[in-house]
């Protein structure tokens, strides 16, 4: 996914745009456990593709003019409350028809063609799961509805993958929130879908379970699956992968690798913290360069502001050598996803 950042400040029409050529869809899943399925997506087509997709309710625009495509890998869907994340996921899952534009998953329109669910796994945000079923019964139920031949084995495998084996024979009604969440994920991936859509999948999980789930999503992405998950916890997104879609007020504010997005944010200076053998001397040396427009001397470090990070990286080496200063540490302080997200939301 190529990083894209709108040039115009503020959420305007120019904020939207295709992400660019998406990687080809990974080879179709093995269907040895499945009955023959519907025709696979066309070779080379993106797994998920939106073209000028919009959805509105009366006068309220929930999402507007979204265009992007996703191939294999994990993509985090970010945005403040009310940004349209869940609406987007529901459109992709086929439970909201676009008011305008097109939404394709594996080359098909999910709200018109139930056969596409053979290749889609969905974890909705809402917690409710049939409370009278055990975890195993619930996952097996999903496997059977998917037409899997050995649904018992498939259910056991999926439960193992989410680490729910100790509780699989208990009714879901007795589960904690995190356990219910894992049961939902097991139900969604029991048929090894090509596309996995997850709405706040880490909700209610403890840190250990979160890590395990992140690892699982990473493994699935490595195996060529397309995974799109929404989260409001930036750390989660940062840990699972680098690719993000950022939605603000129903529009796509940015998409791609968040570090690349950060590099495109030229109207916001990069802040770099440096520790050296002589911070004052180094500060003087750096101030002479036109790419540096701010130097602040701290008690034990130097903070530099520059608009061009790559140019600064070249500069710092030469400047320290010329000034006869030894560098101990150079840290780019605002390269985090949090910083990128904060910038995009405030634009």
């Amino acid at each position: 996914m190529t990083a894209q950042l709108p040039q115009n400040p503020g959420p305007g029409p120019d904020l939207q745009g295709p992400v660019g050529p998406a990687p080809a869809v990974a080879p179709a899943q093995s269907t040895s456990e499945l009955e023959p399925t519907a025709a696979p997506a066309p070779q080379g087509a993106p797994a998920i593709e939106l073209i000028n997709a919009a959805r509105w309710y009366g006068n309220v625009v929930a999402v507007n003019d979204l265009s992007f495509s996703l191939g294999a890998g994990v993509t985090g869907l970010l945005g403040p409350n009310g940004a349209g994340k869940t609406t987007l996921l529901h459109m992709l899952a086929g439970f909201l028809a676009p008011s305008a534009g097109t939404v394709h998953v594996l080359g098909r329109s999910p709200n018109r063609d139930p056969s596409v669910y053979r290749q889609i796994g969905l974890v909705p945000e809402r917690e409710a799961v049939y409370p009278f079923l055990t975890g195993f019964e619930y996952v097996r139920f999903n496997a059977r509805l998917q037409g899997m031949r050995d649904s018992d084995q498939a259910a056991r495998d999926a439960i193992l993958r989410v680490g729910l084996e100790d509780a699989m024979d208990r009714p879901i009604g007795t589960y904690s929130k995190g356990m219910r969440q894992r049961a939902k994920v097991a139900g969604a991936l029991v048929h090894d879908p090509q596309v996995l859509l997850l709405d706040e999948p880490f909700n209610g999980m403890d840190p250990r379970q979160r890590l395990a789930m992140m690892e699982l999503l990473g493994q699935m992405a490595s195996a060529g699956r397309t995974i799109l998950f929404s989260s409001h916890i930036l750390e989660e997104v940062e840990r699972v992968g680098n690719d993000i879609l950022v939605m603000v007020a129903g529009r796509l504010a940015a998409s791609g690798d968040y570090r690349a997005i950060r590099a495109l944010m030229t109207d916001r200076p990069h802040t770099i913290t440096i520790r050296s053998s002589d911070d004052r001397r180094l500060g003087w040396a750096l101030m002479a360069d036109p790419t540096v427009f701010g130097v602040e001397l701290g008690t034990d470090n130097l903070t530099v502001k520059t608009a061009q990070l790559s140019a600064f990286r070249r500069l710092i080496a030469g400047a320290s050598r010329t000034a006869g200063v030894r560098l101990f540490e150079v840290v780019s302080g605002d390269e985090s996803l949090e910083s990128v997200f904060d910038y995009l939301v405030r634009r």
Partner: protein, 252 residues
């Protein structure tokens, strides 16, 4: 392949529907309701054990067909989808490679089955208490009301299940239909018999036992086709609606 898979999914989803519908509180409430005709039959038997017409009209028609049947049907019929749409579990059925007609069929069979079971049991026991001593006549009357309950369960559940896909207030609208349309208006306006499920049910019962003309206004040959058309049309509309199912709106 899709058809075969969808067909195979009907009993699976039907079982889930049954387990959802037979929650403890709802089951206890409805069992208590179903016990009312039986209790009345016991009282009737103790007071007057030979009045076939009186029991059929006063208990089986006025209580079982007019009140018990539609109330049980509206509770099960609207809950079959209503609860799942409300709590979002419907997604676990719809996000599957299964035709929508199969989901409707499973819900319908589950809700109509449990409704019919409950009301048929109620009529059977009531009939056994009062009508069995009356010989063949009593047996005919019991068969007639069992047929009425079967037809009524099927029609009411089809209509209420479909209604629940269009509005969250299906239970309220269903109760208003039962009490106002079927309870009050159909008594005042005999002309609307063709649009009354209760009349379809009693019309079919006419095939087994001659009902009073002012109670059962339709002949079996009219009532049965109307009932079949209603069920088929309702389920077709429900399938059409489910194919266009959308999650409730929002901005996130």
């Amino acid at each position: 392949m899709m058809f075969k898979r969808s067909l195979a999914a009907v009993p699976l989803m039907g079982r889930i529907t049954l387990r959802q519908l037979l929650g403890r509180r709802r089951t206890i409430l409805l069992l208590l309701l179903a016990a009312i005709p039986v209790l009345l039959a016991i009282v009737f038997r103790a007071a007057n054990d030979a009045d076939l017409e009186g029991f059929a009209s006063g208990v089986l028609d006025a209580v079982a067909v007019t009140l018990l049947l539609p109330i049980v049907a509206v509770l099960f019929g609207t809950a079959a989808f209503g609860a799942e749409i409300e709590d979002g579990t419907i997604l676990y059925l719809l996000a599957k490679p299964i035709s929508r007609w199969a989901v409707i069929a499973a819900k319908f069979i589950g809700a109509a089955g449990v409704t019919a079971l409950l009301v048929l049991l109620s009529v059977l026991v009531s009939g056994a208490v009062v009508l069995s001593p009356l010989g063949e006549q009593g047996a005919e009357a019991t068969r007639a009301f069992l047929a009425a309950m079967l037809v009524g369960s099927t029609c009411y559940v089809a209509v209420f299940l479909t209604l629940s896909l269009f509005t969250r207030r299906a239970l309220l609208i269903g109760l208003v239909y039962v009490l106002v349309w079927e309870g009050a208006l159909s008594a005042l306006l005999p002309g609307i018999a063709n649009l009354s499920i209760r009349q379809y049910a009693l019309g079919v019962a006419n095939a087994f036992w001659q009902m009073k003309p002012d109670e059962a206004r339709l002949s079996p040959s009219t009532a049965l086709p109307l009932a079949i058309i209603l069920v088929v049309a309702a389920l077709a509309i429900a399938t059409w609606k489910l194919m266009r199912f959308e999650l409730p709106g929002g901005t996130d």
